[in-house]
């Protein structure tokens, strides 16, 4: 049976290509961490991250034969991820009460440095609450810029918008993030008294 494959390096010869094809399993191996962590970072509760990640990869599996390689593979995968996450968030917002923005009940910043399982859960909770104070678009750009360490042109390509919009959105996102961080800092000072 002939196959549709994503091939590494256009200059690869036919014999090399068969060993370099990116099968679904290879794409899964390469992109699972990227998908999983960004599903979490974009606001899916930790308990649902597995389900949403699974949904993303089911779609990747289904759509892979139609992927033409005209965009970067990561951009293509991210497009699917964003779509699934957006749908999930929309469904959750209609079903659940909005989260309270009270930072007082959250773990202390000092707990972020620890590495245990409990600390990881606490840190994930704190980070999600901080990021959730940004709207979806600002959250997206700050996740891609500050956590994924992508450049603005890369982000523009991934989210399908122009450079100026990304710059403006990122600047606004960083300002809001900074405000939340200052509130946390202030809270730490109160707790220390």
């Amino acid at each position: 049976m002939k196959t549709l494959a994503v091939v590494v390096a256009p200059e690869a010869t036919s014999s090399e290509r068969s060993g370099a094809e990116l099968s679904f399993a290879e794409i899964y191996q390469q992109y699972f961490p990227f998908v999983w962590r960004n599903v979490l970072r974009l606001g899916i509760p930790e308990a649902s991250v597995d389900d949403v990640t699974q949904e993303v990869f089911i779609i990747v599996h289904r759509q892979l034969p139609m992927f033409e390689g005209r965009s970067a593979l990561r951009t293509w995968v991210y497009g699917i991820l964003w779509r699934v996450v957006s749908e999930q968030r929309r469904a959750r917002r209609t079903q659940e009460a909005p989260a309270c923005d009270d930072l007082d009940a959250l773990p202390a910043l000092s707990e972020l440095s620890a590495d245990g399982e409990l600390e990881r859960q606490q840190a994930r909770l704190l980070i999600d609450r901080v990021l959730s104070m940004l709207d979806d678009k600002k959250r997206e750009v700050i996740v891609l810029a500050e956590l994924e360490q992508l450049t603005v042109p890369e982000i523009a390509e991934m989210i399908g918008t122009n450079l100026n919009t990304v710059y403006a959105r990122l600047r606004a996102a960083r300002e809001e993030f900074e405000q939340v961080a200052r509130r946390l800092q202030f809270r730490e000072r109160w707790r220390a008294r």
Binding site: Y78, D102, I127, L150, E175
Partner: protein
């Protein structure tokens, strides 16, 4: 673009570190996905591939090599019989379909789907040449035609912008007021604390819980009627606040 504070950096560093999947989370997900794909005829081979940990490790090494080698491009070797496309369609299930069928035009993801779906419905040629350029085999996607067909190379994040951000003067003013009110309370001057809390700068809403707590403590110190009731209400609604103990102590609760 303005540099982030050390607190923001701490948060972001922690976010990078703590939001990576653990090996256990990865193993659990791989197993689930293998089961899911194994439930379909088309996915059986992939599921077997995924469920073999040794194979996955080998694939991991190859994926790393792939990433290092740089360019990835979509090249069509050719298509099998149209039944392959039909079998792939069978893989879709209700949840996935629901996600993909609802419109979300603002994002690139919709263009991925928009370009992909018609191709699924279109009968695929049964006998294409062994290596056909993508542009000849399939129509270009709706929006990503100009995107580079390469794996992005990670570069340093941009740290500059053309216009500086505005200073957070409101936040600074509110913080200063709260700190001054706290100092007045510690100095035994609740009246001054209330005066400070009644300024316009204190009326902004970033620290409403802190402002409310300080006001209650000041009113309790002045033995104002209703202050104790307000303290009880505060403890009920914001009992987890770090200021709860201070309110309880200040109001004798």
């Amino acid at each position: 673009m303005k540099e982030l504070s050390s607190t923001s950096r701490t948060l972001l560093d922690a976010a990078r570190r703590h939001t990576e999947p653990t090996p256990e989370e990865w193993a659990r997900h791989r197993k689930r996905l293998a089961v899911q794909l194994g439930a379909t005829a088309v996915g059986a081979a992939t599921a077997a591939e995924l469920s073999s940990s040794a194979n996955v490790q080998a694939l991991g090494a190859k994926a790393v090599a792939t990433a290092k080698s740089g360019v990835v491009s979509g090249i069509i070797h050719g298509f099998g019989a149209p039944i392959v496309g039909c079998a792939l369609l069978a893989l879709s299930y209700v949840g996935v379909r629901a996600v993909w069928n609802s419109g979300e035009p603002h994002h690139a993801a919709s263009s991925v789907h928009a370009s992909a779906s018609p191709q699924v419905a279109r009968p695929l040629p049964s006998a294409l040449p062994e290596e056909v350029p993508a542009s000849e085999a399939l129509p270009p996607p709706a929006s990503s035609a100009s995107a580079p067909a390469s794996l992005p190379v990670r570069q340093p994040s941009p740290r500059q912008s053309s216009t500086p951000p505005k200073p957070n003067t409101d936040l600074d003013a509110e913080l200063a007021v709260l700190q001054a009110a706290g100092q007045a309370l510690r100095a035994g001057d609740p009246r001054a604390a209330l005066r400070i809390l009644n300024t316009r700068a204190a009326a902004r809403g970033n620290f409403s819980t802190e402002r409310r707590a300080l006001r209650i403590v000041a009113r309790c110190a002045l033995r104002e009627p209703g202050a104790t009731d307000d303290a009880r209400a505060f403890l009920k609604s914001a009992g987890s606040s770090p200021l709860a103990a201070r309110v309880a102590r200040g109001c004798g609760l």
